[in-house]
């Protein structure tokens, strides 16, 4: 038997609220399957499981707010027999409620947290307290919860919980989460910054040709060319790709690039575009479009939240020339692209007007030095000068 715990879906997450289980006891699950939806300060995230097995017991009920690391469910290894009744494993958070798990043995029922006033009122009104979601301290059911439950049109089941998260709260929470992550970054990470102006005429021409004859929906964007170029450069300079944790750098082979996506209501998320280096541009374009759409709709997968090994931010559309970014911990680098614009350019001794872009690198000085950073940016420039190889 093994535990399924709430993963950290980013450096700025320390708790989440379970919205929905996608599995029930007895279901077989496979690696990568979405098993639950968890609300973080940023989005409702589809949480995946990373081990094959059979769901044994769900320990947390939808609506509960739980810290990262909480055991959400127990699972049996493939082929493992269910233990005898009553042998349910511990490990639940104190005070957490055990759900009724039909067919999964005796679900122990922890005492519900109900305020004395709520209990008295519920008795008078004939309300079933076990059906209510607590909004009080520690998730306790309060008087107001009981009174809301008897109003006409009141939500009957805890599944309606997500609606109780007003947009204003979400925005404030996201602001707090961003504030915490960025403060930590500036507190802990000794940033250094480099920038390089890259001629983009060849890349633009190549892109125009590549898009010729394609329907609008399948056209490539320069953003995806830039992402692929970053991934190619990372292969040469692995010290920009990975995590700095517990005092040391953990390089990552694959380039899972966090793409900074701003949200219409404010704030931003940088979910991972997985393994950019090994995928063709067409596929990357489809995945990027899907990622942006799902980010704005608030339905991301847990691996997309926790996997980015580097972040790329593109503020060119907003019209700035240069971005000097803040690294998202525990990553060790951030690449920024500004606007592609025509600038005076000297080529072969002649002054010409050329489209160029300023690419910048913010990198962690604990992991790399300016010399390597400069070589990385030079490599990025070379890659963008030879777009046909991407």
């Amino acid at each position: 038997m093994f535990d399924f715990t709430l993963p950290s879906l980013g450096a700025d997450m320390d708790e989440g609220k379970l919205i929905e289980w996608k599995v029930k006891p007895g279901d077989a699950v496979s690696k990568g399957q979405v098993v639950a939806i968890v609300d973080t300060s940023k989005a409702a995230v589809d949480v995946e499981i990373w081990q094959d097995g059979v769901v044994h017991e769900l320990l947390i009920e939808p609506g509960e707010r739980i810290p990262v690391g909480t055991v959400l469910a127990t699972l049996l290894e493939p082929g493992e027999e269910a233990p005898p009744q009553g042998a349910a494993r511990g490990g639940r958070q104190a005070g957490a409620r055990a759900p009724a798990a039909p067919g999964a043995g005796a679900a122990e029922t922890a005492r519900l947290r109900i305020s004395p006033a709520a209990r008295k009122r519920a008795e008078a009104l004939g309300v079933d307290l076990a059906r209510l979601n607590g909004s009080g301290p520690g998730g306790a059911v309060t008087l107001a919860d009981v009174e809301v439950a008897v109003q006409p049109g009141a939500p009957k089941a805890p599944e309606a919980a997500p609606a109780a998260h007003p947009a204003a709260d979400r925005n404030a929470e996201m602001r707090r989460a961003i504030a915490a992550a960025m403060s930590r970054s500036k507190r802990e990470i000794p940033h250094y910054y480099l920038s390089e102006t890259i001629p983009m005429a060849r890349a633009q021409n190549w892109l125009t040709q590549a898009n010729e004859g394609r329907p609008i929906t399948e056209r490539l964007l320069m953003a995806v060319v830039q992402l692929k170029a970053v991934a190619a450069a990372l292969a040469q300079y692995p010290e920009m790709n990975g995590f700095f944790r517990d005092g040391r750098f953990e390089p990552v082979q694959a380039a899972h690039i966090g793409v900074a996506i701003s949200l219409r209501q404010g704030g931003l998320i940088a979910p991972a575009l997985h393994d950019v280096g090994s995928k063709p541009l067409d596929q990357l374009m489809r995945e990027l479009a899907d990622l942006v759409k799902r980010t704005r709709a608030g339905s991301l997968r847990s691996s997309e939240m926790s996997d980015p090994t580097i972040t790329v931010t593109n503020l060119g559309e907003q019209g700035v020339e240069t971005v000097m970014g803040v690294i998202y911990p525990p990553q060790v680098a951030l690449v920024g692209f500004g606007r592609i614009m025509e600038r005076p350019w000297v080529e072969d001794g002649a002054l010409v007007a050329l489209p160029t872009v300023v690419a910048s690198l913010a990198a962690d000085h604990r992991v790399s030095d300016g010399h390597r950073g400069a070589l990385f940016l030079a490599e990025l420039r070379e890659r963008l000068l030879r777009p046909e190889e991407l």
Binding site: S115, P116, A117, A118, K120, G136, P137, T142
Partner: protein, 323 residues
């Protein structure tokens, strides 16, 4: 009329001295110096050294003398400069003043008023920053008052003097400079707690120097749409359980603010009474905001951090309401 707490107390003393020849004021520096907190300024010239008596630095001695005078038919007001020094007079207050009616089988009573400043917040360091109201509120046989408003500073002394048994009045040193309107009907009882700000979501229960902080916190919470009631205990012994219970039964939640240390505090007593009387009306566990359990620091920022503050009160209220 707008006056200071100090002026309100001065007027109350002046009234008492002017209207009853049995009343006299006694204590360290109350005469020629005009009182450590300038409450009796000018009294020495007006009423003379017989009735405004400077005493040696001997709390045990002059509180005892006050008890003797009360037994002899006078109505003494003894000013022990601060609660810190009153520890030297504890034997007279606890063993004599509080108990003589009982020990004499009801033959004598001690109509004595003892005034003392209390509390921290002025960088006077650990030995001069105590809040020990709860020690006195523990003792049967004395009444303990904590005037926290201009009206109570003006109005509490007269009924205290009329009480046939000893009364201890705590004046928080941070309140003397507070200014406010003296209402026309400042006459008051020394029996009941008072609701200083009506509210519906939570009862913020406090007394003395913490009242202005609680009111500040309530005002800040109101800006966020959180409606909090503020209850001023006023009388620390005997506690007005009825008013506390009525308020908490209505709001279902309580935060108690007390500058005393948490362990064995008045806040603990209030909380116990809430649980005894309102258990089935409670919608969340009551919470206390007390001083940190350390000697009160001298350094300003640390002293501030050790005491209840509006921000701590706001945080406690939000915790209880889970908002």
């Amino acid at each position: 009329m707008r006056i200071s707490y100090r002026e309100a107390m001065r007027q109350a003393l002046h009234d008492a001295l002017a209207s009853d020849p049995r009343v006299f004021l006694m204590g360290e520096d109350v005469g020629r110096y005009g009182g450590t907190y300038a409450v009796s300024k000018g009294f020495y010239d007006e009423f003379g050294p017989e009735r405004i008596r400077d005493t040696p630095l001997s709390e045990l001695g002059f509180v005892g003398a006050g008890i003797g005078a009360a037994l002899g038919g006078m109505r003494p007001i003894v000013e022990v400069m601060t609660v810190n020094f009153s520890l030297l007079a504890l034997d007279q207050i606890v063993n004599s003043a509080a108990l003589l009616r009982h020990m004499s089988g009801g033959q004598v009573s001690v109509p004595l008023v003892i005034r003392m400043a209390t509390g921290a917040g002025r960088q006077l360091a650990a030995q001069h920053s105590h809040s020990l109201e709860n020690w006195y509120a523990h003792i049967p046989g004395i009444r303990v008052l904590a005037p926290a408003t201009i009206a109570d500073a003006r109005g509490m002394l007269a009924p205290a003097l009329a009480d046939p048994d000893p009364v201890v009045m705590f004046e928080h040193a941070q309140l003397y400079n507070m200014e406010g309107k003296l209402p026309d009907n400042w006459q008051c009882d020394i029996e009941r707690a008072a609701i200083r700000r009506p509210g519906s979501q939570l009862s913020l229960i406090t007394y003395g120097g913490s009242l202005p902080k609680a009111l500040d916190a309530a005002a800040e919470l109101a800006r966020d749409g959180i409606d909090v009631e503020v209850v001023d205990l006023r009388v620390l012994r005997p506690l007005d359980t009825e008013t506390i219970a009525e308020s908490v039964s209505r709001t279902h939640r309580a935060v108690i603010v007390d500058e005393g240390w948490r362990s064995g505090s008045l806040a603990a007593e209030v909380m116990a009474r809430i649980v005894e009387n309102c258990f089935y009306d409670l919608d969340a566990p009551p919470v206390r905001v007390c001083s940190e359990e350390v000697p009160i620091p001298y350094a300003k920022h640390m002293e501030g951090a050790a005491l209840p503050q509006p921000a701590k009160i706001v945080a406690a209220v939000r915790e209880v309401l889970n908002v």
